[in-house]
Symmetry: C2
Subunit: 155 residues, 2 copies
DNA sequence: CTAGATGCAAACAGTTTGCGTCACT
DNA sequence: AGTGACGCAAACTGTTTGCATCTAG
């Protein structure tokens, strides 16, 4: 199979063992247009490899992200975060410590759709995350200390 | 107290009972510049009301969101979502069913920072979520059927 | 042959729920 | 007085981990 050859090449390139389950997980991911949850991937792969475990799916998703084969759709801050700012605004999010800082709407060039949105999609608003590394984390990575905590440098 | 009067007015406006714990939760939220986790709010409020329970914090956060006093910083899709698309792109996210569809970068006007980012913040990239209601959910709300599932209409 | 991958089950973190009691209005 | 809020503990969901076994290279 062609597919298999491609996948083996991909694995070789990223220093990964070309496992049957890994291949199915990867191909399932690629075959779906959306961004399926781990559960959903698990369910699909299970139709081909009934003995696969959900933990294997999780381990592989992380492996893929670590090795740069995939990226996370959006960083999850790990818990419910709430916003008391009623002005339209956006967020600067630190990719290391996940701290979130508000950014005024005017700090960004105005955003508009150029073409049509996906068929039938009713646009409500644009939410922009400016992703990067915050001052505290940048400093930390020069003279590394303890593990970063999201709240070391919150008011 | 002034604060207390303001808070009572806010509650009256939103049809909520002006509870001591509710007030402390609210004021804690407002006093922090960042977007603290429920745990963090709990820890802070506990210094003033040691008997408060974490469940109360959660209940109030949700109440505040329902009543429009607060909004969620960003919708959490509830599970790890992964992206195999290596082209720069953005996402259309349905606020009802949380499905995610890729949008080409060129479909949006280019985004740039106008002023300086927050002090010392090293910008890496912009992630835009176009928030709205997808076609399937819009249709569903006309002739409502069963509960929406994020995957009813994924490939 | 050996490092790394898998599968299982148990552990975790964050969040929600049910329910009896209590407190705003 | 009555509705809604609180506090507690137990339940749940999504995710991670430890470990014995297996397999790709």
């Amino acid at each position: 199979m062609d597919r298999t050859a491609d996948f083996r090449a991909l694995c070789r390139r990223h220093g990964l063992a070309a496992t049957h389950q890994r291949q199915l997980i990867y191909e399932t991911l690629m075959s779906l247009t959306g961004h399926p949850s781990p559960e959903m991937v698990y369910e699909r792969v299970r139709r081909k490899i009934p003995s696969i475990s959900l933990a294997t799916v999780y381990k592989n998703l992380h492996t893929f992200v670590e090795r740069g084969v995939l990226r996370e759709v959006s960083l999850h801050h790990g818990s419910l975060r709430v916003d008391a700012n009623h002005e339209p605004h956006h967020h600067a999010v630190c990719m290391k410590c996940k701290s979130i800082v508000d950014i005024q709407e005017e700090a960004l060039t105005p955003i508009r759709l150029r073409g049509a949105p996906p068929a039938g999609f009713q646009v409500e608003r644009f939410a922009v995350d400016v992703l990067g590394i915050c001052a505290a984390c940048a400093a930390r990575s020069h003279r590394p200390r303890k593990t970063a905590s999201p709240f070391d440098h919150q008011s």
